[in-house]
């Protein structure tokens, strides 16, 4: 082996993707992917006193930054698809006509496309919440149609109980999927798991990202995160 860099030093301390920065703002980028509620069309140059300095580098110009940028956009777009699915199911999944992620779990794989593009796989809805069982745990099985070790990029799934953290089962299962991709030679890539915490008390869902960076196929798995991952901009847009 000629690579002198130990695996634990491969993860750079760089904020990438469309995640809330220290100070509270989401990064603006190509197409104005900025804060929630903006139109997504104009680049946002407004800088307030406490905001971090504006990005000097186009995140879409470098593959290393374009992929997490697009993965975050795909994660955010998947939430809209979850809500659409809830609206289609109706009844307790869309009380008063408003789709909700509280009644069941939704999930999807993320699929790598050409270049650095990332898209959502088939959206699967789990069984409805068992209202009689306070210890109810979802048994969602995500449809893998069209997903292979060659194009797998991660997954997005919701937590109806609003927990933003991955469970031990979440993490071990994520690692197992990543292993399949690494076994296919993708040891230089990062894989992403987006957890969509259903908004409690009528609030909107929040999206948090957890990732597993480049490493050898036979390297030990990192421990499950115990701190909440970075929050992803719900209006994140992909690179043009």
């Amino acid at each position: 082996m000629t690579d002198p860099t130990p695996p634990h030093e491969l993860d750079e301390i760089v904020v990438r993707g469309q995640r809330r920065r220290p100070g509270g703002a989401f990064p603006a980028g190509p197409g104005g992917g900025g804060g929630a509620g903006d139109g997504g069309g104009e680049h946002q140059n407004e800088v307030e006193e406490n905001d971090p300095p504006p990005d000097q580098i186009d995140p879409c110009a470098d593959p290393a930054t374009a992929l997490p940028w697009n993965a975050d956009a795909a994660g955010a777009a998947t939430v809209a698809k979850f809500l659409l699915k809830a609206a289609e199911i109706g009844f307790a999944d869309a009380p008063n006509g408003l789709p909700s992620l509280l009644n069941r779990e939704f999930g999807s794989f993320l699929v790598r496309g050409s270049g650095q593009s990332v898209s959502t796989g088939s959206v699967t809805a789990g069984p409805p919440r068992d209202q009689t069982n306070p210890n109810w745990v979802s048994t969602l099985t995500i449809d893998p149609t069209g997903v292979t070790p060659a194009n797998y990029q991660g997954d997005v799934h919701s937590h109806p109980n609003g927990n933003p953290l991955p469970s031990e089962a979440d993490w071990i299962s994520f690692m197992a999927n990543n292993q399949q991709a690494r076994d296919a030679g993708r040891t230089g890539e990062t894989f992403y798991m987006y957890i969509v915490a259903a908004g409690q008390n009528g609030g909107p869902p929040t999206i948090r990202v957890y990732q597993d960076g480049p490493r050898a196929a036979n390297s030990p798995n990192p421990a499950r995160p115990t701190a909440e991952g970075p929050e992803v901009n719900p209006d994140a847009q992909p690179c043009p």
């Binding site: 048994t139 089962a169 399949q180």
Partner: protein, 175 residues
């Protein structure tokens, strides 16, 4: 009317029956005293013990000397369910599903027939209960080997989780 599962099991093929066939085959090759020691085992043969990360513990056993009847003993949250295949059709169906589970092959995965980066990813349960399953596996020559399987994904782990729910639906826990 004969129990269809029992009839099916008599014809062979289930994992449960295969374990016992191999065990008995070994006993017949031993001395009479050794055979008696095996026959007098007072406790049902344990064919499968599974423990889940959510606190489930499931044993599937066959009665000593009555190898075509399966009993499930499930404990969870301080409660116990005891179900037999002839009392609960859903459990019987679960056993039939178990019989049809695909065979496992040792890895690494890329050495398996059909391995390719383009093959489909398996179905995925993000919150799949993590199971530790202790049982016996059998080769085509009927030789048996004790195994302990751990994981939350794939047909065996999914079957465990689904069967736990089936057993709970068969009836209330024991008083």
């Amino acid at each position: 009317m004969p129990n269809p599962v029992r009839s099916l099991l008599h014809r062979g093929g289930s994992l449960t029956l295969l374990v016992l066939s191999a065990t008995c085959g070994a006993a017949f090759a031993q001395s009479p005293n050794e055979q008696q020691a095996v026959t007098l085992n007072p406790w049902p043969y344990t064919n499968l013990i599974a423990e889940g990360s959510q606190g489930h513990r499931l044993e599937i056993v066959t009665e000593a000397g009555i190898y075509n009847q399966a009993t499930a003993i499930l404990t969870f949250g301080g409660q116990t369910w005891k179900v037999t295949d002839w009392q609960c059709e859903q459990f019987r169906a679960a056993l039939n599903t178990y019989r049809a589970l695909p065979g496992l092959k040792p890895g690494p995965g890329l050495l398996l027939p059909g391995a390719s980066p383009e093959r489909p990813m398996p179905p995925y349960r993000p919150h799949g209960e993590m199971w530790t399953i202790r049982t016996h596996l059998h080769a085509p020559d009927w030789s048996a080997i004790a195994v302990e399987m751990r994981g939350g994904q794939g047909p065996y782990a999914f079957w465990m989780s689904d069967t736990v729910e089936v057993i709970k639906s068969c009836g209330p826990p024991l008083e």
